[in-house]
């Protein structure tokens, strides 16, 4: 097991295992960061800080239950995300006050073929399209969409799920309708 191998090797000797651990879990930490910090750069900061703590703890034998390494990484992500959220808010306030935003560069998310997404999104049935726009652009929750469109929240959830699956099917290989 990766965590075992890192913990039992001399510090820094299990580079392959550390790299594999990063490949497996960094995307999950990044998603956790995106979900909770809602900022690409902050999510990337979270990945780096979590892995610094994780590798140091594994190398020094400070992880008690290496079998549950996923749980340890999640717990570390939660703790560090709280700190980062504070730092991020403070940095945002300072930026608003002092910084020249025109020189800031935001890291972009990995994206799909945008032309394909555009064709597929615009080919979906109108109800599906509107649900996806309300969900991912307007960032509305099911209960708010339900209120706007006079539907039950449960119905919105089911319809949204189907709409996203139709979009996925089209983007990843089907044909626009």
């Amino acid at each position: 097991m990766l965590a075992d191998a890192i913990g039992s090797a001399a510090p820094g000797a299990a580079r392959e295992e550390e790299a594999e651990l990063y490949r497996r879990f960094a995307p999950r930490v990044r998603l956790y960061g995106l979900r909770h910090l809602r900022d690409v750069a902050a999510a990337q900061d979270l990945v780096q800080e979590v892995f610094i703590v994780l590798i140091e703890r594994l190398r020094s034998g400070g992880v008690r239950n290496v079998e549950a390494i996923g749980s340890f990484i999640l717990g570390t992500s939660r703790t560090i995300a709280v700190d980062l959220r504070r730092t991020h808010h403070r940095r945002e306030r300072l930026t608003e006050t002092f910084a020249d935003r025109t020189i800031s560069v935001t890291q972009r998310e990995p994206m799909l073929d945008q032309a394909r997404v555009e064709d597929c999104l615009n080919s979906l049935p109108p109800r599906d399209r509107m649900l996806l726009v309300l969900t991912f652009y307007a960032e509305k929750k099911a209960v708010d969409i339900a209120s706007d469109l006079q539907m039950a929240a449960g119905t919105v959830r089911v319809a949204r799920h189907r709409a996203l699956m139709r979009l996925r099917e089209c983007v990843t290989g089907g044909t626009p309708q």
């Binding site: 497996r24 879990f25 995307p27 999950r28 998603l31 956790y32 995106l34 979900r35 996923g70 749980s71 990484i73 999640l74 998310e109 990995p110 994206m111 799909l112 945008q114 997404v117 555009e118 999104l121 615009n122 049935p125 109108p126 109800r127 399209r129 509107m130 649900l131 996806l132 726009v133 309300l134 969900t135 991912f136 652009y137 307007a138 960032e139 509305k140 929750k141 099911a142 209960v143 706007d148 469109l149 959830r157 089911v158 949204r160 799920h161 996203l164 699956m165 979009l167 996925r168 983007v171």
Partner: protein
């Protein structure tokens, strides 16, 4: 992951709800714990996140045509998208055009849509074939249908007279609710 579930029983619907923030805290934490143990669900969540970001990117880039709500229009305005709005009453012809600074063209179709189901919007050239047909459109109010279209797309259309027909089903019968004429003046310049 199969269509709806991973091998360990994690559900795709729950992952979507989690990503959107539609779960209570306890359920969300349960999903997080599962994602950190299940590679299949981690991959699936990444896919949901990527698709969601792609939808946002497409809409933010004004490359969408859709029925929308006033709330979405407000969000467009907050995001700095420039909109030109045309309001049409049933039975009228109105001039419309696209200007260089426009990102989106908004068409407000006025009418009384109360009690209709299965609303259908058909766009056609007055002397020509159907250009688009949207069936079972969602409706956020009973007195108006709000449509947006990408200005970049509309700039490519030639000068033409367009007709929009809105129909719906009431008491089991399909009826025309309103017909709206647009005199498309093409892409203007200053």
């Amino acid at each position: 992951m199969t269509a709806d579930q991973c091998a360990r029983g994690g559900s795709l619907a729950n992952l979507i709800d989690y990503w959107i923030g539609d779960l209570d805290q306890v359920s969300a934490e349960r999903i997080e714990a599962h994602v950190f143990e299940c590679r299949e669900c981690a991959d699936c969540l990444a896919e949901i996140a990527t698709l969601g970001a792609a939808v946002k990117e497409t809409v933010s880039g004004a490359r969408i045509h859709s029925i929308v709500t006033d709330g979405i229009l407000n969000k467009f305005a907050r995001d700095g998208l420039r909109m030109r709005t045309f309001s049409a009453e049933p039975g009228t012809f109105i001039p419309c055009a696209v200007w260089p600074e426009d990102d989106l063209i908004v068409t407000r179709l006025k009418g009384d849509f109360t009690g209709y189901e299965q609303l259908t919007v058909v766009l056609k050239a007055t002397e020509g074939p159907e250009l688009s047909r949207d069936e079972d459109i969602p409706l956020a109010g009973a007195r108006e249908i709000i449509m947006v279209a990408s200005a970049a797309h509309l700039r490519k259309l030639p000068l033409m007279r367009l007709q929009i027909r809105v129909s719906g089903t009431r008491n089991g019968l399909e009826q025309t609710i309103g017909e709206y004429g647009l005199e498309h003046g093409g892409a203007m310049s200053r």
